[in-house]
Symmetry: C2
Subunit: 67 residues, 2 copies
């Protein structure tokens, strides 16, 4: 069953940063939707079967980190 | 003859912003090199036959503005 999880990412400064984070997280198998807001650091991920460590790895790959 | 001109761009917050500005300016005919530094706003453009209005338009297209 699909679930939505909220994360906080540090280091995003603009819309390009949001896109980078979103693109990496979207590659996680099972993820069906992701949004990121650089003004708050809020990242919302929806999908099935993904876990926090995968999200953390994707955020790291994009050049940012979970707070 | 090639010339190098310096500009100051406001609004760049990260390396993605630098890339966006660089990519737009690089499309101006005659431009052979461009660098951008988001920490200072400094943008350096080298080439032949380009003018300030083309640089301003490219910066605007990227979503930023000359100061």
């Amino acid at each position: 069953m699909a679930e939505t999880k909220n994360y906080t990412v540090t280091g995003m400064t603009c819309g390009h940063c949001e896109l980078s984070v979103q693109e990496e997280i979207a590659e996680i198998p099972g993820v069906t939707a992701v949004s990121a807001d650089h003004t708050t650091g809020a990242v919302t991920v929806t999908g099935e079967g993904f876990d926090d460590s995968q999200v953390a790895a994707a955020v790291d790959e994009a050049g940012y980190s979970l707070s």
